[in-house]
């Protein structure tokens, strides 16, 4: 437990001291979303129709792009090797890292989402569902994406490769996340869909870090 706490504090500090890594995904999210009213049409009824999908796709891309450098700095500085050879299970510090990363890049997306949802002309009644679906969905996206980031850490061309590996794995989360918001817009029941989203989160939280640790071990040649 103390290992987890120490790793968490370290990761939070490192991220906090390079604010670009926190701010860039957030602005990416905002910018992508503001492209859609310009590209499609600013008509409120049209926007409200596509808003759930736009919000979710933008959030998904923002999370994925933020993960590209997740392990790179640690690998370049040699911290990763130490982590993997330390006398603790690699999954403990890896989980701390994922939690820290989500707290500083995923959570801000959740917090800013009601503003963007309002700008996309979604009715006020669904803003809660938007936030809740992103709150359940973005940690899952972070963990799944981290598997891809772990497998590509030693390669100099992350970017597109990471997208090719990770985007197919994101599809279930996207379907249920955007589905929950769409259902809320239509006035349907959302609890069931949110529950499935929660189940996906439980699955990724319990098994994902193990896969990330295994991926890091493979990438570092151990």
């Amino acid at each position: 437990m103390s290992v987890f706490r120490a790793a968490l504090v370290r990761e939070l500090l490192v991220l906090w001291r390079s604010p670009a890594e926190i701010i860039n995904p957030l602005f990416f999210f905002v910018m992508v979303i503001s492209l859609f009213p310009l590209a499609i049409s600013p008509k409120p009824e049209l926007l409200a129709l596509v808003a759930p999908g736009v919000l979710w796709v933008a959030a998904l891309l923002a999370v994925m792009l933020s993960l590209d450098g997740l392990f790179r700095r640690d690998q370049e500085s040699g911290v990763l090797e130490l982590l993997l050879t330390a006398p603790v299970m690699a999954v403990v510090p890896v989980s701390a890292k994922l939690l820290a990363h989500w707290l500083l890049t995923g959570l801000p997306l959740v917090l800013i989402s009601p503003v963007l949802a309002h700008m996309l002309q979604l009715p006020d009644g669904v803003l809660g569902t938007v936030m809740l679906s992103l709150l359940l969905g973005t940690p899952a996206l972070t963990i799944i994406g981290a598997i891809g980031a772990a497998l590509t850490v030693g390669l100099n061309r992350g970017g597109i490769l990471l997208a090719v590996l990770v985007l197919p794995l994101y599809i279930p989360v996207l379907i249920f996340g955007a589905g929950a918001v769409s259902a809320a817009v239509d006035g349907g029941a959302v609890n069931g869909i949110l529950a499935i989203l929660g189940a996906l989160l439980a699955l990724t939280v319990s098994l994902g870090p193990l896969a990330v640790a295994a991926g890091l071990k493979i990438s570092s040649g151990n």
Binding site: I147, L161, V164, L169, I171
Partner: protein, 252 residues
């Protein structure tokens, strides 16, 4: 007793050299059988099976579509199993198999999508619809592409195979989830009419050519995997004595 035999086979086939000699003996038999079964199934289905009372002759594409789909699905699952063995036990032959299974499976997934689109036009009036099975097959193709891309990028072949193996394992879980998660989007695709357990709802005159062409596709897939795996084994073991001897002896 059975368990002992399985264990012995597992370890024997785990040796690249034994695999090479074993497949050398197997391929001359398996290849003609696979070609024969495939040809019989396809010709029977395309030329001699009765036409459908609703769909006429257009249904005949089933004899290509269903075998390709089943082959693509089974290939991915097999790749996931090989990936598990490669990651957990670091068995060399499982790594080789990982690499050998992917290309043919991706091709079958593409064939399944193409034939499905061609079949969809006369039957449903559209080439493409975002229904559960079509979407799942498209995602399956994406995941084959991901595994192949990852394998090609990593230079060390053993590391590449294990990385792709981990991805394939995660992918197998994903395929299952995707299948069920797109199902709540309305589904246009017909349910399975062919069941191994229980009563099939397909006409027996169509069922047997379908089963035979499926078997033929799987056998061809196996032949392809064996040939690819042999090439890979020889390349990986190029510095070993037995491969040198093999090359000097002109492949004998």
């Amino acid at each position: 007793m059975v368990w002992q035999t399985i264990k012995r086979w597992y370890h024997m086939l785990g040796s690249p050299r034994y695999f090479y000699t074993f497949s050398s003996a197997l391929l001359p038999w398996l290849t003609p059988i696979a070609l024969l079964v495939f040809t019989v199934g396809i010709v029977w289905g395309l030329a001699f099976a009765p036409s459908d009372y609703q769909q006429g002759n257009s249904y005949r594409i089933i004899f290509i579509h269903v075998p390709a789909s089943s082959g693509a699905l089974m290939g991915y699952v097999a790749m996931g199993v090989a990936g598990l063995v490669a990651v957990v036990w670091r068995m060399k032959m499982a790594e080789v198999m990982m690499k050998a299974i992917a290309p043919f499976g991706a091709a079958l997934a593409a064939i399944s999508l193409a034939t499905g689109a061609l079949w969809g036009k006369p039957t449903w009036g559209t080439y493409w619809q975002w229904d559960a099975r079509m979407t799942s097959m498209l995602i399956l193709l994406f995941m084959y592409v991901g595994v192949i891309a990852l394998q090609n990028v990593i230079r060390d072949p053993r590391q590449a195979a294990r990385a792709a193996g981990l991805l394939a394992m995660v992918g197998v879980i994903n395929v299952i989830i995707v299948k069920y998660s797109v199902e709540w989007v309305q589904t246009l695709h017909q349910g399975s009419t062919l069941k191994l357990v229980g009563e099939s709802t397909i006409n027996p005159a169509m069922k047997y050519p379908l089963l035979i062409s499926m078997l033929g596709t799987w056998l061809l897939y196996a032949v392809n995997v064996l040939v690819r795996a042999r090439t890979e084994v020889v390349w990986r073991e190029r510095r070993s004595k037995w491969v040198r001897k093999l090359v000097k002896g002109g492949g004998q």
